[in-house]
């Protein structure tokens, strides 16, 4: 539980047009409707199911199932490694997949991780981003959650690169797919609860956290120089355009930034 505040930010993540937060969200009314739908579906269906699953499944079993589902979906990472020209990483990921599928008993045990073959995060959305495809509008998809237009091919791509898709026996793949969804939801419980506890506007919190984290992944988990220089406000964060100000006295606008020197700079001691 400790450190959850940190972890949750990476697990997630006004009005129409370009809102105060600076994120271009032209589909916000529709997105908010789907966000509400997903939240309610989660509250009334997935939360009880997930709680029951956690109650009857010991933690080590859930850990092994997570390893297994990660492994069967790992070809998605490998294919995208090579689509991005990351040959060395791709070779390492093939090694990881082979080791875990054999020594790791179909992936139930992360033997490769112990051998130093680290897991990487790649998908079709990251590949398209690195190819220079524009992000497109932010989307909230029913039953899926936060996404972007550029990232939507990832959904189909992840299905076709999943080993389970090629098993060809519905009696095996359907139950496994259901367990996979429940297991994924159970693993996200802390993040979902964090948003419920702490966000004052859960939609904006999730949207911005998601987009920022995707941006971080696109840059290979590095804070690029530009983003470092603008950490105070991330790139693309414009000065908000206020609507009807409801504070009294009326808004005087806009100073994009407090006078930092006046606030933060210590007096220079006399020589």
């Amino acid at each position: 539980m400790a450190g959850l505040m940190i972890l949750v930010l990476s697990g997630c993540a006004t009005m129409t047009g370009r809102p105060a937060g600076g994120v271009d969200d032209p589909l916000e009314p529709m997105n908010r409707a789907f966000y509400h739908f997903n939240s309610e579906a989660d509250r009334w269906v997935m939360t009880p199911v997930s709680n029951a699953y956690v109650a009857v499944t010991p933690k080590p079993v859930r850990g092994s199932l997570t390893n297994f589902f990660d492994n069967v979906s790992y070809p998605n990472v490998i294919v995208n490694d090579f689509l991005q020209g990351r040959v060395v990483q791709g070779a390492s990921d093939i090694g990881r997949f082979v080791v875990n599928s054999t020594l790791g008993m179909l992936g139930f045990f992360d033997v490769a991780g112990r051998l130093g073959l680290k897991a990487h995060t790649e998908d079709a959305g990251l590949t398209l981003a690195r190819w220079g495809v524009p992000r497109g509008p932010y989307l909230v998809l029913p039953f899926v959650g936060p996404d972007t237009l550029r990232n939507t091919p990832s959904i189909a791509f992840s299905i076709f690169t999943n080993v389970l898709y090629y098993v060809g026996n519905a009696a095996v793949t359907v139950p496994l797919s259901i367990i996979s969804v429940i297991n994924t939801r159970a693993n996200a419980t802390n993040e979902i609860e964090y948003v419920r506890r702490n966000a004052v506007d859960p939609y904006i919190f999730t949207r911005d956290a998601y987009l920022q984290h995707r941006n971080y992944l696109i840059h290979g988990k590095h804070l690029g120089l530009n983003s470092v220089e603008q950490l105070m406000l991330p790139p693309g964060t414009p000065v908000p355009t206020p609507g009807k100000p409801r504070v009294d006295p009326p808004l005087k606008l806009p100073r994009p930034w407090p006078k930092r020197a006046a606030i933060r700079r210590p007096p220079v001691p006399a020589a």
Binding site: A2, G3, M5, I6, A20, I204, M232, P242, K252
Partner: protein, 212 residues
């Protein structure tokens, strides 16, 4: 002739290397006080995590209050989270907001850092001085299983001390998230509603952990 050209290049190269080394050393020296602020704050955080159960929520809140106040420039962060709406607030409203924001920040730390897993520790992994003199301190939270999260702190000088003005967790800026939410509420519903929501969050965190 050949020898002297070679020697010349060697001297130039050595000079460049020396300048780079000196530059790195100067940057490290400049960043050192900021790094100390982070290691001290994370030390307190770790101590609170280790004693979380015995302290309970009120104890964690009490222990963290001086550490957070000292290491974070909460007045500045509060101001930035409201963007341009800050200038439209009265002095009384600003004071109300800063007080509530401070309580919410400390309560969130006390609520979320409520336990310790074997092997958990914070490590400073690097630091760099930015063009404007501010400092980034890169850290990570590790557990027995490996790295749990990357935490980048942005610090700026304030009244002779270095203080945190933003925290970026796995690439997600805490300040940007708060600013996006708060300015949206300010625009749509106004200051009283925002203040009410933040106070409700504080009350809820307190109530949730009352028994803890």
């Amino acid at each position: 002739m050949e020898w002297s050209r070679k020697a010349g290049w060697t001297v130039v190269l050595a000079g460049m290397l020396a300048m780079v080394s000196i530059g790195i050393a100067v940057a490290q020296t400049q960043a050192a006080p900021a790094v100390t602020v982070i290691t001290k704050f994370q030390g307190t955080l770790l101590s609170v995590m280790k004693n979380a159960k015995t302290l309970g929520f009120p104890g964690r809140y009490r222990e963290l209050t001086p550490a957070v106040r000292k290491s974070h420039n909460l007045a500045f962060i509060a101001e930035v989270t409201l963007g341009p709406y800050w200038t439209g607030l009265t002095a009384a409203q600003r004071a109300q907001f800063q007080k509530t924001f401070t309580r919410l920040t400390i309560a969130t730390y006390a609520a979320e850092f409520d336990g310790y897993a074997a092997g958990q520790a914070f490590h400073v992994t690097g630091s760099r001085v930015l063009g404007n003199g501010d400092v980034i301190v890169a850290t990570e939270l590790v557990s027995a299983k490996g790295r749990q999260a990357r935490l980048d702190y942005l610090l700026a000088p304030s009244h002779g001390n270095w203080q945190i003005v933003n925290i970026v967790a796995n690439g997600v800026s805490d300040l940007a998230l708060k600013r996006a939410q708060y300015t949206a509420i300010m625009r749509a519903q106004g200051f009283p509603v925002l203040l009410k929501k933040l106070r409700a969050k504080v009350a809820r965190l307190m109530a949730l952990h009352k028994a803890a």
